[in-house]
Each structure stands twice: as C-alpha cells, then as structure tokens.
Symmetry: C2
Subunit: 386 residues, 2 copies
C-alpha cells in the first residue's frame, strides 16, 4: 500500500485568490500549506499553515519556502525562473517545471515553440524598432497587435495598432523598445475559448469541458460552459490543448486560450501554467475542480473526473470604476437570493477599479439560463472603496 501523499507539504508562491482556492481544496485532504506573498493579509493568509511575507523576487525567501515544502507550485507566472531552475537542479520538486514556465513567460518563445510543432498560431514576429512594426503591418495588414513578450496580463502590455499612423503611439505605450516586443497578425475571431487540462506526474492527462470567454477592456468578465461551438471545433480544440500540455511535459493545471474564427479555424492564443480565471466555474460545475486536480497532480495523486455537473456560468466581480480604498462589499445578500448563485469573495483588503475582487458561479439546466441569472446577480454586487 502506498505512502501517505497527503502528508506532503505544499509551498505556493503567491497567496492571492488562486492560492486561496487551491488551499480550500487541499485542506479537505489535510495537506500542510506554506505560502509566500508580500501582502500580510492576502486572500490565502488566514487558511495557510505558514505565510512567508516576502517579495516574489526574494530568492532567499523562495529558498526558505523550498526548504519547508515537499513540492512547490505557483499561482502566477511572473516570477524569476532562475531560482526555480536552481532549486530543481538541487532536487526540489517544482510543478509546473521551471522549463515550462520559462517558455511560457515569454510570449514570443511560446508562439515559436507552437509553430515549430505545427500547432496553429497567428502570424507573429519579434519587434525591436518602429521600423519592425511597419514591416509587420506590411506583412500582416492592419490592425496589428503589439505585445510585450513578458509580464503582461489582463490586457496590460498589449496595444492594438489600427493603422500605420498609430505605430509611434503603440511603440511608446509599450516602452519604446525597453521591453521585448512582438507584433501579431490580428485574428478577427468569433469566439475566445479556454481549454483547461491537467497532467499528473505519471503523464495522465485530463481535459475539462470547454468554456467560452467574454472580455471587457481586455479583462475576463464571463465564462460560459459548455461553449457554443460545433462538435468538430470542440474535438480540434481538445486535441490541441492536449498536445500543448504534452509538449510542456506539464504537471498540474494548464489553461490554453484559443480563438475560433468565423470559418471554424482554431488558433492557440496563450497558455497559463496554473489554475485560470476561466476555470473557476469548475468548483461548482464539475466533479473535480481545477484546484482539486492541480493539488492532486503536483502531489502525485491520481486525477479526478472532470465531468460537467451542470451548465455553468462564471462572472468576475471587479472593483468599481473610480473607486479605490478599503473594500466595501454590497449586495451579496440580494445576489444569493437568485437560484443557484454561489459567491466567492476573495477578501482583498484594498479595491481598485477593475481589480478582481471575487467571482460568482451559477449552475442551471441550460447555459442561457445560467448566464441570465449570473448577469442579474453580478449587477447586484458592488465592491467599492471607502
């Protein structure tokens, strides 16, 4: 009979909402959890066994975390990969692997890797000078998407250049070449979908029901599951998702965002080597949530069923526009009166406009019904500052 893997201590770099939701699953099986996060009262603080209050680039603290943990994972990809690579070479278990993280951190390297392996991605090129952007415009046509290769999230680090005359503005907005830049062919897609998958240490891969994402100002607003796509698109997307996860020899949850065009082409957009906002629906909507399977994967336990329990819609609860300060939540009570609404309040002390403060999930017999209720509920909840 096996050793008790639930005795493995899990170190998490980051104590935000993703860390918090991992811990809520891990604690069901009594895992011991250490987090590293610079914010004393971060969302995961009160449910972690230990909290190292330190910056994410504090190598000494990351080494301390490694010393206390049997396995290290992370809840966001903008961390220094060198120290993780060193630790891995010293024999520490780090999942997903630093090699996967290093590739994913750089969007250009990510796209090149996919291209090398004949995985469908939009046309793209490295950009150093304004002249390079002009060449990209000539090659791809306008609009052209200008992106920082590293560090971007929630639309930060992206600039859509609609015509030649906007090249200078875009170039300046993204740091005048101080950051690594790339230009991409603009894909006039019909839908953005998420393929969520998880790979165990033994190589077993499971994929989740595909979700369809709506953004507002580049921030995810809603994910509907199942996505309204044809069977053929679904099979193609799942196949691609699985190929990406195998390509990285990943361990844990990966989210692969894809575009579906009007003529039903599926293109890989970006990969996140961690539980993803578009997979939050899985807590209520599937048999085993993305957080539960991530914990199982990185600790070497077998993966759980990803079957959809009911059609599900997740909506983010964002900090109100024009309001910054100590977070005040209103309307949760009214929202909970609506059928099958579940509210997740991350407990962030400070709100800012469009900061992800929480989310809600609605399950229903149809995705349309869930979406109507979710939309109604999210209008009721307001998080503003003092």
């Amino acid at each position: 009979m096996s050793i008790d893997k639930t005795k493995r201590k899990i170190g998490i770099i980051g104590g935000g909402q993703l860390g918090k939701m991992m811990i809520l699953e891990a604690k069901k099986m009594d895992f011991y959890i250490i987090i590293l996060d610079p914010t004393a009262h971060c969302p995961a603080h009160s449910i972690a066994d230990e909290h190292l209050v330190a910056d994410f680039d504090d190598e000494e603290a990351i080494r301390e975390l490694a010393g206390k943990s049997d396995v290290i994972t992370y809840e966001f990809e903008h961390i220094g990969v060198e120290v993780l690579q060193d630790l891995e070479s010293e024999g520490y278990n780090i999942y997903p692997t630093p090699l996967a993280l290093a590739t994913i951190q750089n969007k250009y390297r990510q796209k090149e890797l996919f291209k090398e392996h004949n995985l469908p991605v939009s046309d793209h090129m490295k950009v150093i000078t304004e002249e390079d952007i002009k060449r990209a415009g000539d090659k791809f046509g306008y609009p052209v998407m200008l992106k920082s290769c590293t560090g971007g999230y929630d639309g930060k680090g992206n600039f859509l250049i609609r015509s030649k005359s906007e090249i200078k503005e875009g170039y300046q907005a993204l740091g005048v070449g101080d950051n690594l830049l790339m230009a991409e062919e603009f894909i006039p897609f019909d839908r953005e979908i998420s393929v969520l998958g998880c790979r165990g240490v033994d190589g077993e891969v499971v994929t989740y029901p595909i979700g369809e994402n709506q953004h507002q100002g580049s921030i995810l607003i809603e994910s509907k599951v199942p996505a309204d796509i044809s069977c053929q698109v679904k099979e193609e997307a799942l196949k691609l998702g699985r190929e990406v996860i195998e390509l990285f020899s990943g361990v844990g949850i990966f989210c692969i965002e894809m575009f579906v065009t009007g003529d039903n082409r599926v293109l890989i957009n970006e990969v996140a080597p961690r539980p993803h906002n578009s997979g939050h629906y899985s807590i209520e909507g599937t048999v085993t949530s993305q957080f539960a399977n991530h914990v199982r994967a990185i600790t070497g336990l077998p993966l759980g069923s990803t079957d959809l329990v009911k059609p599900s819609v997740m909506r983010n609860i964002l900090g109100e526009e024009g309001s910054t300060g100590e977070a005040k939540v209103k309307g949760i009570e009214e929202a909970l009166k609506l059928p099958n609404v579940k509210v997740h309040n991350y407990g962030k002390k400070i709100t800012r406009p469009n900061r992800k403060m929480g989310h809600l999930t609605v399950t229903a017999d149809t995705v349309e019904q869930a979406s109507r209720t979710a939309s109604e509920a999210s209008k009721l909840i307001k998080i503003g500052g003092d």
Copy 2:
C-alpha cells in the same frame, strides 16, 4: 442595498471535523472565524483566524469567544447551556438557540416535547430505580432500550436489555442511576433515515434529500442518498422534519433521525442541532452543502438550493480496531483511482479504534453504483496508530 453580512465574525465552539467543514465553506465568502477547542492541533486549527485553546466548559473562554464574535454556533451539543443562555440574554447571537439546545441535550425532554405536539415517537418513560426498568419492560415488552438522557453519542450511553434478567447489568452499565435515565420501547425498524433541514433567521426552511443510514456497533458507517423509501414515507418524513425544525424555532442545520418500520410508520428518534455526519454527502451531492447553508443561516444570508446533484453515498473512515497512537493514513491514493471518490481527511493527530478520522463520498448515476464504489474505496483506506 444590504450591509455586508460576510463581515460578520463567526465563533464556533468546537474545532473538530464539523467546525473544519463549516470553515471551508465560510472562507469562500471570506468570513472571519474564531474557534474554541482544547486541542491545539484540532482539525479546524490551521484554517481558523483565531483559536482559543480552552475546555468546552471554560465559561471565561466562551465569554471571550462571544466578545470576539458577531454570532456563535457550535459543532456538538454536549456543552454547558447556562453560559449560552446568559450570553443570549445579554444580547449575543447564538444559533441554534440555547433553548433548543437545552431541550435537545436531554433525550427525555426531547421526546416529551414531541409527544406533547403529537409527533410520533416510541413509547418511553423516565427511569430512576431498577424497579422502574422492570415496569418499563412490563409495559413495552422486551427488548427494552435503556438510555442516558444526556451526554450519549455514537451508541455510548445506550444499553439494550433483552430480557428481565439483564436489567441489573444494564442499570449498572449506565451508572446505577447516577445519570438521568430513560427506558424506551424497542422499535424493530426496517430503516433508519436522516431528514436534514435548515432554517434561516427569517423563518425560511429548506430540507435536503433524505438519506438512509447503516450503523455498525452504533456508529454510523454509511449514508445513501436518496433513501430507498416510498413516496408516501418520504413526504411523511419531510413533513415531520419540518415540524421539528419549526418547533425549535431553530436557526441553522438540524438533523432529525427517524425510524421507518416494516409497515411504513415513521417515528422520530433523535435530533441534532448542527450539521450531521449523515449529511456529509451534501458537500459533493447537493447544490449547497449542509455546512454552507448552516453558515448562511446563522449569518442571516438567504439559504441555497438543496437539490441533489447526483445519487451519493458517504462512508466513514474509522480508526482501525486495536490501534491507538499517532495516525498513519494508508490507501488514499488507491481509493482516489476509483471513479468519483472524494476523500475528506480530518487531520486528527491521534487515532483510536472506531474514531471518526475522515469520510469519503462517491457520486454516481445510481445509488447502488455509488454504494459499490464507496464500499470498495473504504476497504482500501486504513488509518492506524504508530
């Protein structure tokens, strides 16, 4: 728009598995939690915001808990009710109410209350002397169930007297009249079922799908949901359950254990004013678990749907016979390989024979299938001492 009830601080007397599972739900909405428990590393310790390490009868500590909390609840009914009554009269919110608790703590008083309200219970009488037991035997016939009126659980405090000749043994086993005793007509029931219900502060009552319980040596082994009962029995049981909850003007979860006889009579056996072992299936098996609804109820939030997601079977994981000491868990990995098995490891440091160390839940298309898998999984998991 309403005030933010998720800012209410919840005090829980008891930091065992029930407290732990309450907290795992409460933390999704970011409630602040203080527990009172004498065991430093009790199951709820690592996920509570504060832990008052104190005995359950430590009035000063209970007062300290009240001072820190906006609402107090408890995870077991064997606590001194006087201090709770005092605190309530001083204006503290205590749910379920001390009055309900006082009645429920005394099994005789509980049964008398039901009789007064024409709710069906087995025949019973107060017992002080051996002579009284003889009278009960003459009146009810043998076997007769002798019970301590207070303090019993998991079969402790019960003695089945099969004939007149066993009266002395039973009387001695239960303390020779030092404890309050009662004698009950023995009900040769076909099934034992649990009606779980929850009442909000506004009087709203929801009931859960009825579960069917199997005991071994008076300890709950398995709960299957839905119970294999006729529609008529189901309606009768739900009606009775609702009447009991309204009778106590309860706030929070109540579990009403009932007997179903061969001729389909339904009798109320016992009530627990708290989340109950037979309701653990609701974490995976219903839209809103008993723990989530308990938290919603006591904080004044609207209750959630209790719809069954899938047929579900819960099995307890008990400490191995003949083994006491630091708990060693084996076989979780093997159990998780079986379809839809979820393991809850309470994290108790010390195991004893038949101690409730964890449970597992299986959902499936039929209750028979779930039961087969649950039985197989529970044979794989062993918790023994050093």
